[in-house]
C-alpha cells in the first residue's frame, strides 16, 4: 500500500513537467506580448520592448522554460505575475483555500441532494418518484452556471437579502456559489447514482439476496448501496477536481478570488507565470484528489486493496 502511494506520488513529477511545458507552449502561441498588453494602447514600441526585457520575455521560448523549471525545482519559485508583480506562489496560496472551499461545498451539496434522490429514483424506477427527480436533474444539468447564479442572486440577495451578492466576507458569501455550482453537478450526480444503482440492483447477487427473502430495504442499504456508491465516489472526485479550477463563471459572478478566475485573467493578459503556476497547482491538487479516490476504493473494496498491495497499479 505504501509502495503504491509512493509510486503515485512519483508519477506526479512527469505530469507536472508535462503540464507546465504544454501550457508554456500554448500561451506562447497566443498573439501579443505581455509588454504591449500591460502598457495598453498608446504605449510606444521602445517602452514595450523595455518592459518585455525587464520581464525576461525577450528570451527564446526554451530558454524561458528552462529558467522557469530551474527556479521552480531548485528555488520553489513560480515567478512573479507580470501584471501585479506579486509572487505567484503567494497569490495561489491566497486563492487555493477559496477554490477548495467552494469546490468542496459544491460537491457536498451535490452529493447531499443528488445521491438520495438518485437512489430513490432507482428504487422506484418508472414511477413519479423517478420521473420528477430525473427530469429536474436533466433540467438543472442543462443550465449554464452563470444563469443559475444570477437568478439566485436576484432571489437571495435582492429580494430576500439573506446572502451578500459579492465578496468572501463570511460563510454567508459561500452559500450561493455552493448552490449555483452544486445544482447542476447534483443533477449529474443524481443521474449517475440512479444508473449505477440500477445496474447493481440487477446484479445476480442482489437478485439472489432478494430471492432468498431478504427485506427489500435491507438489500438496498446493505448490498446494493456499497457497490453502487463506488462509481459515485469517482464522479464526485472528478467533479471536485474540475471545480477547483473550473468554476470560472461562478467565481466571476460572485466576486470570489479563486484559482479559476485568476488563471483566466492570466490567459487574457498573457501572464505566463500566472497561467503556468496556476495550472500546475491545479494539476497537483487534481492528482491528489484522484489518488484519494483510488484509495477510498481500496478502503471500500478488499479486492482492490489486494491489487494495490500487489505488483501493479
Amino acid at each position: 500500500m505504501h509502495r503504491f502511494i509512493f509510486r503515485r506520488l512519483l508519477m506526479m513529477i512527469p505530469i507536472v513537467i508535462g503540464v507546465s511545458f504544454l501550457i508554456f507552449i500554448i500561451i506562447d502561441m497566443i498573439p501579443g506580448d505581455p509588454g504591449s498588453n500591460l502598457l495598453g494602447p498608446g504605449a510606444r514600441q521602445e517602452d514595450i520592448d523595455m518592459l518585455n526585457e525587464e520581464l525576461g520575455y525577450n528570451l527564446p521560448l526554451f530558454q524561458r522554460y528552462g529558467k522557469y523549471v530551474y527556479d521552480a525545482l531548485f528555488r520553489l519559485d513560480l515567478g512573479k505575475s507580470y501584471a501585479t508583480k506579486k509572487p505567484v506562489v503567494t497569490e495561489i496560496a491566497n486563492r487555493l483555500p477559496i477554490s477548495l472551499t467552494v469546490a468542496f461545498n459544491a460537491i457536498l451539496f451535490s452529493l447531499v441532494f443528488g445521491v438520495p434522490l438518485g437512489v430513490l429514483s432507482a428504487v422506484k424506477q418508472n414511477t413519479i418518484f423517478d420521473r420528477i427527480p430525473t427530469g429536474l436533474a436533466l433540467l438543472l444539468a442543462a443550465q449554464p452556471a452563470f444563469l443559475i447564479g444570477l437568478v439566485l442572486m436576484l432571489i437571495f440577495s435582492l429580494r430576500l437579502g439573506w446572502f451578500p451578492a459579492n465578496g468572501v466576507a463570511s460563510w454567508k458569501s459561500y452559500v450561493m456559489p455552493m448552490i449555483a455550482l452544486g445544482l447542476p453537478y447534483g443533477g449529474r450526480q443524481l443521474r449517475f447514482t440512479r444508473s449505477s444503482m440500477l445496474e447493481t440492483i440487477r446484479q445476480d447477487y442482489v437478485r439472489t439476496a432478494r430471492a432468498k427473502g431478504a427485506a427489500p430495504r435491507l438489500v438496498i442499504w446493505k448490498h446494493a448501496m456499497k457497490n453502487a456508491l463506488l462509481p459515485v465516489i469517482t464522479v464526485a472526485g472528478n467533479s471536485f477536481g474540475i471545480l477547483i479550477g473550473g468554476a470560472i463563471a461562478t467565481e466571476t459572478l460572485f466576486g470570489l478570488p479563486g484559482l479559476g478566475s485568476f488563471i483566466v485573467a492570466g490567459i487574457k493578459q498573457k501572464d505566463v507565470p500566472v497561467v503556468t503556476g496556476g495550472i500546475i497547482v491545479f494539476a497537483v491538487v487534481f492528482s491528489f484528489v484522484i489518488l484519494a479516490v483510488d484509495l477510498s476504493y481500496a478502503f471500500v473494496d478488499p479486492r482492490i486493496r489486494a491489487k494495490y498491495s500487489g505488483r501493479r497499479d
Binding site: M29, Q143, G260
Partner: protein, 294 residues
C-alpha cells in the same frame, strides 16, 4: 422463457432496436432530436438566414408577438432588434453542428486511440496514457480557452478545442473495455490464426465496445453544447453575428432583468436538446445491456 428463445434467434441489432422501441421516453427523445435536426437542416427554407441578421434598432428588445410585441416576431427581438426566432432557428444549425461534430470527432479519435493502446499495450500504452494524464490534469474549460485564444476564434477552432478536452476520457473508457474483451477466447483464437492487429481491432474489438461508445457519445452531445455556451460566456465563442444558442444566452445575460425572453428561448432550446439526448442515451444504454431488461 419463450422470450429468451426468441431473442437468441434474432440478431443483436434487431434485439436492441426492439428494446429501444419499448422505451417510450427514449423514443420521445429520439423523435425530438430528429425534429430538431430536420428544422436545423431546413432552417433556410423556413426563415431566410438574412432575417436572423437583419437589424432594426427601433425594435430593440421587443416582446414576443403573443405577449404584445410587434406582429410576426414569435420570440420577440434581441438587443439589436433582430428576429429572435430566426436567430434561435439558425442558431440550432451551429449548436447542433458543434455538439455532433465534436462528439463524433471525439468518438473517432478517442475510440481508435483507446482501442489501439488497449490492444497493443506495452510501451505504447504507457506512453499514450501518461500523455493523456497530462491533458486530463488541466481543467478542461481553461484548456479549451487557452487553445481558442492561441488559435483564434471560429467554429473549427472551437470544435478542435472542445474535442481535445474530451478525448482523454474517451480513450480511457475504450481502453478499459478493450482490455476486458482482449482477454476473451475468440480474440486469442483470431490472433493465433495470424490476423493483423488492425483487422482484429476493426472486426472484433470495436464492435464489442460499441455500446459503451454510443452511450458516452449521446451524453457528450449535450455537454459539448454547454461547453460551447461557456466559451461564449467567456467571450471566446463563435464570431458574431452568427447565432449559436450559447452565444444567444450570454448575449441576453445583460437583459436578464429587463427582457428575460432573450435568455428564455435559447435557454429552452439548450434544455430540450440536452434533455432529449440524455434520455435517448439512457434508453440506448438500457437497450444495449441485456442485464437491464425488465
Amino acid at each position: 422463457m419463450t422470450d429468451a428463445l426468441v431473442f437468441k434467434k434474432e440478431s443483436r441489432l434487431k434485439e436492441v432496436v426492439r428494446r429501444l422501441k419499448k422505451d417510450r421516453l427514449a423514443m420521445f427523445g429520439l423523435a425530438v432530436i430528429c425534429v430538431m435536426i430536420l428544422f436545423a437542416l431546413m432552417a433556410g427554407l423556413i426563415v431566410p438566414y438574412d432575417t436572423a441578421l437583419k437589424m432594426n434598432l427601433k425594435l430593440k428588445l421587443a416582446l414576443p408577438s403573443w405577449a404584445g410585441g410587434p406582429a410576426g416576431y414569435w420570440f420577440g427581438c434581441d438587443g439589436y432588434g433582430r428576429d429572435l426566432f430566426a436567430r434561435c432557428l439558425h442558431g440550432s444549425r451551429i449548436s447542433l453542428l458543434i455538439g455532433f461534430a465534436t462528439s463524433i470527432a471525439t468518438l473517432a479519435v478517442g475510440s481508435l486511440l483507446g482501442a489501439l493502446v488497449g490492444y497493443v499495450g506495452g510501451k505504447l500504452d504507457d506512453l499514450v496514457m501518461r500523455a493523456l494524464d497530462i491533458f486530463s490534469a488541466i481543467p478542461s474549460t481553461l484548456f479549451a480557452m487557452a487553445v481558442v485564444a492561441a488559435m483564434g476564434p471560429g467554429i473549427v477552432n472551437i470544435c478542435i478545442a472542445i474535442s481535445l478536452t474530451n478525448i482523454p476520457g474517451f480513450v480511457r473508457i475504450v481502453r478499459s473495455s478493450v482490455l476486458n474483451i482482449a482477454e476473451q477466447e475468440y480474440i486469442e483464437a483470431a490472433r493465433a490464426g495470424g490476423a493483423s492487429i488492425l483487422y482484429i481491432l476493426v472486426k472484433h474489438v470495436l464492435p464489442n465496445t460499441v455500446g459503451t461508445l454510443i452511450v458516452q457519445t449521446t451524453a457528450n452531445v449535450a455537454s459539448m453544447i454547454l461547453t460551447a455556451a461557456t466559451l461564449s460566456f467567456l467571450g471566446l465563442g463563435i464570431n458574431p453575428p452568427q447565432p449559436e444558442w450559447g452565444a444567444l444566452v450570454s448575449e441576453g445575460k445583460e437583459f436578464l432583468r429587463t427582457a428575460p425572453h432573450l435568455i428564455l428561448f435559447p435557454g429552452v432550446m439548450i434544455c430540450v436538446a440536452s434533455f432529449s439526448m440524455s434520455v435517448l442515451g439512457d434508453g440506448l444504454r438500457d437497450a444495449l445491456d441485456p442485464r437491464l431488461r425488465n
